[in-house]
């Protein structure tokens, strides 16, 4: 059994799964129920001068049958008195001394920062997280992502925090910036030992078309909110990997956040450099209970991969991130359709036809029919194969791939509803590994003499 416990800036946590600062960490009762369910840590709902929230405040985006692929909110920081929050934090830390308790903070003036940090530490916080990410409401007051998007201000406030704090400080970043490395470097300059990201992405969830008001609707108006949930995971992974590769930022501990719903998502964040992960939307959707699968799934995964701790997984995929110019131009894949599992829906056919390179064909067509359907190049070789798909209803046809024309773009595999039915097979091009940067280095990057010369050279190289 792999060891799931982690060390984050010297703070031990029973496992890497923390609740993100959000409604699931509003109260001590919730956090204690979460710890009972198996969560290793919690970042308390951001503390500051309590505010008033509006209704409604959440918007959801569905895709197909999937509810809440994305969530958006215009909620602000805690709306409960600070004394109550601190009292409950103290209680939580007393009952769960080994779990990680993080106080998320957002205030305005230096004095306020000094005071709230002091009180958070007195309440037992193991770590402090500076919320420089809230993209709505608080920015108008000069806080939240207004700070996160302004490296100078971020640096100054983070420096105060480091100065006042006895426990490690995490800077929580906003994705709403042009270059994530700017706030990242600012945090490094301020001397913080850790980062977390992402907070929510600026968004408008939709429009109530009857009332002509954007969503979520507050009476007769709305405002931009913060987007999170499964839909933002790719954005979060990208920003995380940028920081993880950065020589200075990459040395900080990073808590990964954004669209994590299960053990697999968590493993991906950790492989790209996170030490702990934080979860909000998935808990708002399904409850604290999802952590059971996360713990078990991650542990079994580590065992299976022969890793004995989470630390061994951390950052494993980082070196495999390269700039485009370093990718191997000689590497080639072609699609292959398995006639035994194909259900004959022909989604791959239409996707390749209209969205890619017209190299998927239907069996049983004459040349004439193929041309009428829009194929400009016809396969030299039509494979012998069952016309009717084994897993399909009679009459449904299994498409086939014209391997010579296939550019290996992946689209067909992505649209096929049957996992594993279309595989991308490696084919040898006979050419040695060569990247765009190699070509530049060898002076082969462009061909002088205009388009015709380029075309001629390409023909020769083929």
């Amino acid at each position: 059994m792999a060891d799931l416990s982690i060390e984050f800036c010297g703070i031990r946590s029973p496992n890497p799964f923390w609740l993100a600062s959000a409604p699931p960490t509003n109260t001590g009762d919730q956090v204690m129920r979460a710890f009972d369910a198996g969560w290793g840590g919690a970042v308390w709902k951001t503390l500051g001068n309590p505010i008033v929230n509006v209704t409604s405040r959440f918007g959801g985006i569905d895709y197909g049958n999937t509810r809440l692929m994305g969530l958006n909110n215009i909620e602000l920081i805690t709306d409960r008195p600070l004394e109550v929050n601190f009292r409950e934090m103290l209680e939580v830390k007393k009952r769960f001394p080994k779990h990680t308790l993080v106080a998320s903070l957002m205030v305005e003036t230096k004095e306020e920062w000094r005071e709230i940090i002091q009180r958070s530490e007195d309440a037992g916080a193991d770590l402090l997280e500076l919320n420089f990410g809230c993209p709505h409401g608080m920015c108008e007051r000069g806080m939240g992502s207004a700070v996160g998007a302004e490296p100078k201000v971020l640096e100054e406030i983070a420096r105060w925090a480091v100065e006042f704090a006895r426990v490690p400080v995490i800077v929580k970043l906003t994705p709403n910036v042009g270059d994530i490395l700017e706030p990242g470097e600012a945090a490094v300059r301020a001397g913080v030992p850790a980062l977390s990201l992402i907070n929510t992405v600026k968004s408008i969830m939709g429009v109530d078309l009857d009332r002509m008001v954007p969503l979520p609707r507050v009476g007769d108006a709305s405002t931009n909110g913060g987007y999170c949930g499964p839909a933002v995971k790719p954005i979060a992974l990208h920003l995380l990997s940028q920081l993880a590769r950065h020589p200075q930022c990459g040395r900080l501990a990073i808590s990964g956040i954004g669209g994590i719903s299960n053990w697999r998502d968590a493993a991906e964040f950790i492989a790209l450099g996170a030490t702990s992960v934080q979860v909000c939307t998935a808990v708002m959707h399904h409850g604290f209970r999802i952590v059971e699968d996360m713990l078990e799934g991650l542990s079994d995964f580590l065992d299976e991969k022969g890793m004995s701790s989470v630390a061994e997984l951390r950052g494993r995929a980082v070196p495999a991130f390269r700039d485009w110019g370093e990718l191997d131009l000689s590497y080639k894949l072609v699609a292959d359709i398995n006639p035994d599992t194909c259900i004959g829906c022909q989604l791959c056919y239409v996707a390749c036809m209209d969205g890619s390179h017209q190299c998927i064909h239907l069996p049983g067509r004459t040349e004439e029919q193929s041309r009428q359907a829009g194929h400009t190049h016809l396969p030299k070789h039509v494979p012998e194969r069952a016309v009717t798909a084994a897993a399909a209803t009679p009459g449904a046809r299994v498409p086939f791939v014209d391997e010579e024309e296939c550019v290996g773009c992946n689209l067909c595999q992505l649209v096929c509803p049957v996992p594993g039915c279309i595989t991308m097979e490696e084919v040898s091009t006979g050419r040695p590994r060569e990247s765009w940067n190699d070509r530049i280095a060898h002076g082969k990057a462009y061909v002088p003499g205009g388009l015709e010369a380029t075309e001629a050279t390409r023909r020769r190289n083929r």
Partner: protein
Amino acid sequence: MREGDAKRWELPPGRAEEAFEDKKPLYTPAEALAEANRCLYCSGAPCIQACPTGIDVPTFIRKIGTGNLKGAARTILSANLLGQSCAQVCPVEVLCAGSCVYTGWGREPIAIGRLQRYAVETTLSSHPALFQAKQPTGKRIALVGSGPASIAAAGLLALEGHTCLLYERKALPGGLNTLGIAPYKLKGPEALQELEWVLSLGRIEVRTGIEVVETASGPGQVSATGLLATHDAVFLGLGLGADARLGIPGEQGEGVHGATHLIERLKTDPGLTLEGVRRALVIGGGNTALDIAHELALLGVEVAMVYRRSEQEMGGYVHELDAARLDGVRLLENRQPVEILREDGRVVAMRLAFLAEGKPLPGAGETLPTDLVAVAIGQDRATHVARAFAGVALDERGRVKVDPLTHRTGNPKVWSGGDCVNGGKEVVNAVAEAKLAVRDIQRYLAGE
């Protein structure tokens, strides 16, 4: 039986059951994923409430969805050690799937049984070591019978570190899981494979060909008092007894079979041939009657069921009747067997009386030609052996009396569960009752 023998019990080739196809075959990974992602992951889900063993259905299905297959199997098997056979034999249509919120919504319920089969079967074939037994306690427990009730109890007790000895009078272990379940749901070798997995959990020994009796009079017999004297606790998983008989003229002799006995032969006896059997009549309206009728129909026999009351009053499940009808079984309602007619000893026809509201209509009846009669009107109750354990009592219907919360009998060292207690329910009930008994045995052995 030696430790480490991969296959201790084998069924001979050439059995009729081999010809049956699975009605609900193992999902492919793609099918399982698509179905799992349809589940709503309900909280406090009705499907959990409907499972007698309380499997956390939404959790295991979500785990299939996230690729945590081993975890899914763990969730299932920690609630129901026989999760594999239950996945195949449970009447999910009236249990979990029957109560799925989709059913109430007028949509196809989640195929919980098939997802369960996928999770357990796939996991056990690659990662059988899911559980670790506790340190040996030195306690010995005797289990009478080796059907689902005893197997589940033995597995759970072995995980607690106790040594378990199962005494089975038949040559093959597994009870009705091996010998009675319709072969289009579960075949004998599959039942034995699951049993082998349970045995792998700890110190469990199966002694086949040994009957527990009141007073032992030779090899192959063990006395009740002997068992009590040599074990720290005893679990009775006796099941039911022999098939009941009609008690009408012509019943004696070739061509008239007790239903469970005939099913057992379909599943185990390569010598059984149905040559010359074109038509069969099955007497009864319960699930056993439906099973044998359906099985005979799938073997190409023209089958009619003879039931004394109306279709609405039948004990068998509606979904099983529908499925049997699809394969050609006919139902004759409000009829009662009067006499079996023979020519040269061979069954040729059966005389039936017509009934109205359960009472014979004088003078009304018919004679139907048939080559075979299968009698499925119930089974005898558990046997005298229960009474041989001092203090164990039977109720007026012949069922072993237990405290419903602990499944302890009148003898403080004896517990019981399964068909011999509930009068004949499902495999999953036998497992659920075994769980209750084990919890109490555990308390008893811990000296509480």
